[in-house]
Symmetry: C2
């Protein structure tokens, strides 16, 4: 992965992103290897700069209005292998290694992926197993 | 895939989504089989209802402020195999088959995926090939 951080020339690459009215960009985390989609969140400019500097995902929590280093409470850190941007420059894709458990746990519910609800003919169903009790993750 | 459309009981499943202030939800399209992330877009309630009814992706274009049936101009239709929702009920994942070309072309630039720009030490680089000239796609 490109680790530029504060040393990348004038942070020009951050200026190329079309930040929304709140200064955020949507970010998708996909697991390297499996290709599984792990989670969807937002980053502000500082979060993305920190992500690249650290090589670990740092998101912006809209509810808490602060940077949120993924795994800071759970230990479920995301090591970033690759950062991509879409054709409109308004969405970011992180290819990550989900650390802290095997298989990786990206979701606060203790599941592998946050996308565990599947639409069935009678509505949304939780179809993926809880790998670890959230109470033992966040203690 | 669950095809409910107007027949799904009272469309309750649509009410469970946390639509944003503009009545939209972010949607990620992932290719079935390869696991490749194809694109990121938005849907409003009607777009998602239509998507499930048709079994083909229908997005909401924020710039054109109208429903946009993927492939309506290009023929690059997305057949929907599965619809998922995340733990916060505020993001949707479609598992799709990208029709109309082999390999599938999801991006208006003629590339497989919209996420073709990779962050390198000297900035964003287009790293994926154009599979078909956009001028011959949109004619």
């Amino acid at each position: 992965m490109a680790r530029g951080g504060r040393y990348t020339a004038a942070m020009d690459w951050l200026d190329q992103i079309k930040w929304d009215a709140q200064g955020l960009v949507p970010v998708i985390a996909q697991e390297v290897g499996s290709g599984d989609l792990l989670m969807f969140a937002f980053m502000n400019r500082e979060a993305l700069a920190r992500t690249v500097e650290l090589g670990e995902a740092v998101y912006y929590s809209r509810s808490r209005q602060r940077l949120w280093r993924k795994g800071e409470a759970s230990g479920h850190i995301q090591r970033v292998h690759e950062v991509r941007m879409d054709c409109d420059n308004d969405a970011v894709l992180l290819k990550v290694e989900q650390l802290g458990a095997t298989p990786g746990i990206a979701c606060h519910t203790g599941r592998h992926s946050c996308f565990f609800q599947r639409l069935e003919s009678d509505g949304w169903k939780s179809v993926d197993p809880v790998l670890k009790d959230p109470q033992s993750i966040y203690k």
